[in-house]
Subunit: 345 residues, 2 copies
């Protein structure tokens, strides 16, 4: 693998449009010199968008296609047009080794299904997981997984997510032995579903031999505290938790805006403390944490949020480059092999 | 039932202590003239606490017991000491008709188990649900249920929760036809688990004949928007959502505090806009929404939050009085009968 990775960009997927995807890629290239790109999509639109980014143009090749996976396509429909679509060709570039990783802002379910078929899951992995970084009050972000479409997970799935999440935290955040917790409705051993309790028993038994520390159960009110580095859950609970975080952060900032505009006095106070509230805004801006990664696949595929701005896309592309350079795929494969090697079953 | 209800207070349950429970009851009586009380617990401690509240003392009788259900007791252990404990005797007072309702800040699982055994569930109800009110950006709070220990729920359970939640919203918030939604990981019909999709199909079919409107699925980022009046989920998803709301609100306000104390300038701005941030604090203070009610039981039992202050306890007692006066038990029973009456099955 090259030291200056090449990234396949699905230029057409998602609502953000070609211009935003390429503006993001261009911005990432400014931060990450030497990055090269395969831009996949309508050549005319891509060339038009590249006119504003000569730096990106010089580092890019174009793969032309007019076919696009839409947000409304079910994964099964997406699979039928896999080969020809911008999303499918971007993943195919990873499969062929023409790119070290792919970034798409398209339909998450379709991306997961197509990546799974093209790149295949790692040995022993039934389901890839989608992992994202969330801000905390601590020094580091926290890895949350699964945020994909795995609504029902058994104990083994959850344990695999834990091992993969820990490998991700080591790679992306440079932690030696990340603290891993299972999301649950209480911290006592007897709380929660059978799947969660069984996963905890397996991790308690087996985590010691691995580069991770099992921290037991964590409840919803502690997700952003920074007490742990990886939080594991099925795709249903993860979706509820992640969207509730988004909604509540917006709720509180909306209340704050209302409060600050409720009187002349508070408006003046707001203007004076503007640098402080800007800091808050920066910290809560989801664009600063954009980029969810599929773990458990033989290749690096990242999902950029459908409504990310150029800075958000740039963060996702930057994360993709970092994961390629640090060889996340090998890290995860090795950790899973070590985990299985130590299991009696 | 008397027009000035009598409420049984478990004076010993929870971490808050006798003094806080009685300070809350006294505060509620100031707002709600004519309320009477049965104070259940250690007579010596209760009498000592009553010295500060002559108004409450005049309206109260005491039921003495030294036995207390602890936070660590499992529901099965709690059931064994049910009869003699302050929690058990408070519920028993409701069963005997000596009180119109009971309030406890004790162990939620024990309270649910004891109330279920003593008061029995309504006809056709397998599991009582725990319902709480959450603040929104809209004019009204939103009812969330189940927040109890029903981690696995089938479609019928969820439908029963929907009917009971709508009855609660009509009674507590005076709405004619509350909008009811199911918490899910997407709004399309195909999203989510079988249980949720089946519950949606039943509600789509049958809600029209009832005093409620079925609003489909709602995602975690819309819980606090005020777009619906009742949000239905199993106890697992509800716990994750509710605790994530709590934790995220605290996370954002912690960030805000950090931001406001990050420079002299922002400190000055903060002092000037203090009335605004106090408004925010008031809106987010969980004490203003304290009081979760068990629905589906033949009697009114409310759970006060374990860490509520006197104002929080007062809100819970006040809510209990209101639900007794408006005869929530009859409302829920009738709605459930109407729903069953219209069901082919």
């Amino acid at each position: 693998m090259s030291l200056t990775p090449r990234i396949a960009i699905d230029a057409m997927g998602g609502d953000v449009g070609v211009r935003m995807m390429l503006a993001g890629a261009a911005m990432a290239r400014h931060q990450h010199d030497g990055l090269r790109f395969l831009l996949v999509g309508d050549e005319g639109q891509i060339k038009a968008a590249l006119e504003n980014h000569p730096n990106l143009r010089a580092a890019s090749d174009i793969i032309h296609t007019e076919e696009v996976v839409s947000g409304a396509d079910k994964p099964s429909q997406a699979l039928r047009k896999a080969r020809g679509s911008s999303m499918g060709l971007a993943i195919d570039a990873v499969k062929r080794g023409a790119a070290g990783g792919a970034v798409s802002a398209g339909n998450t379910g379709a991306l997961m299904a197509m990546a799974k078929v093209a790149l295949r899951t790692m040995p022993g992995i039934d389901r890839p997981a989608l992992a994202a970084l969330l801000p905390t009050l601590g020094d580091n972000d926290v890895v949350m997984l699964d945020l994909g479409a795995n609504t029902d997970c058994d104990a083994n799935n959850l344990v695999q997510f834990a091992v993969m999440g820990a490998a991700y935290a080591r790679t992306a955040m440079g932690l030696e032995r990340p603290r891993v917790a299972l999301l649950n409705i209480g911290t006592e051993e007897l709380k929660g579903t059978d799947e969660i309790r069984d996963a905890a028993a397996l991790l308690r038994d087996r985590a010691e031999g691995l580069p991770m520390r099992f921290a037991g159960f964590i409840e919803g009110d502690k997700l952003s505290r920074g007490d742990v580095d990886v939080i594991v859950h099925d795709g249903f609970a993860g979706n509820i938790a992640l969207k509730t975080i988004e909604g509540t952060a917006r709720f509180v900032t909306d209340l704050l805006r209302r409060a600050f505009t409720s009187s002349t006095r508070s408006k003046i106070g707001f203007l004076i403390s503007r640098p402080a509230t800007e800091l808050l805004r920066h910290h809560l801006d989801p664009n600063n944490h954009n980029g969810a990664v599929f773990l458990g696949l033989n290749g690096v595929v990242l999902k950029s949020h459908g409504s990310a701005d150029a800075k958000g896309v740039a963060n996702c592309v930057h994360l993709c480059a970092e994961l390629i350079e640090k060889d996340i795929t090998r890290q995860v494969t090795e950790d899973l092999a070590n985990f299985r090697g130590g299991t009696a079953a």
